[in-house]
Symmetry: C2
Subunit: 135 residues, 2 copies
């Protein structure tokens, strides 16, 4: 059911600074950058094998990510597991009484996703993602 780790998301205060560190320091390649107005964030995509490391900077002070940054500082935010069918995954989670953060999938940068509540997963915020069809 779970195909791979689609991405790992890291919240940062300044995307340019973080890209410098992760590219010039740590040695990852930097793919594209994207502003996601609905999520109030800008994201840089750094491929690592079959997965991507996403550096996420809030672009407002009101988003969930901005509040996370303000209260917890920079660091690991969530991991995303890729699935074939997010609707089916949601039904499975409901049947197993695992609490989700939304009642419907949300359109993310890479597909349709839904988040499991961290309390349902031993303190880890986990996203299930069905990628956009690549046809």
């Amino acid at each position: 059911m779970i195909k791979r780790i689609n991405h790992i998301a890291i919240v940062v205060a300044n995307l340019d600074d973080a890209i410098r560190t992760y590219r010039d320091g740590i040695g990852l390649a930097v793919g594209h950058r994207m502003v996601m107005p609905e999520q109030e964030v800008e994201i840089a995509f750094l491929p690592a094998g079959e997965s991507v490391i996403e550096l996420i900077q809030p672009i407002t002070e009101t988003s969930g990510v901005a509040k996370y940054l303000a209260s917890r500082g920079e660091g690991l935010h969530h991991i995303c597991l890729e699935v074939d069918d997010v609707q089916e995954t949601m039904e499975e989670m409901a049947a197993r009484s695992l609490r989700l953060l939304s009642e419907k999938p949300i359109q993310a940068a890479e597909g349709y996703g839904v988040f499991l509540h961290p309390k349902a997963a031993h303190g880890v915020l986990i996203e299930f993602l069905e990628p956009f069809a690549s046809t």
Copy 2:
């Protein structure tokens, strides 16, 4: 230089409970389990594509992981990036003035690893790992 995400490590209070959640709830397969006496932890390995999700339970109260659990609770602990040559990576990090947590690689469950200080990587604890030769 960085080949893939080797693993993501999650600190948990009780490995049996966490395995139940991640296997029966979230739907990951569980590979093997291993006690690492030198690190004072027990680890369960849950493959996800080319990466592994590691659930880590401290088995003493003195280890770094035990202290992390006591102060921060369960959750994401570190991400591990696979490299060809950990010694070369250490030299590169030193040349770039990125602070490492040890002067020599440490034998981990899957190979030889070294950790970058979280302050050097925007709040993320990053391990570089050279896997054991598979010959």
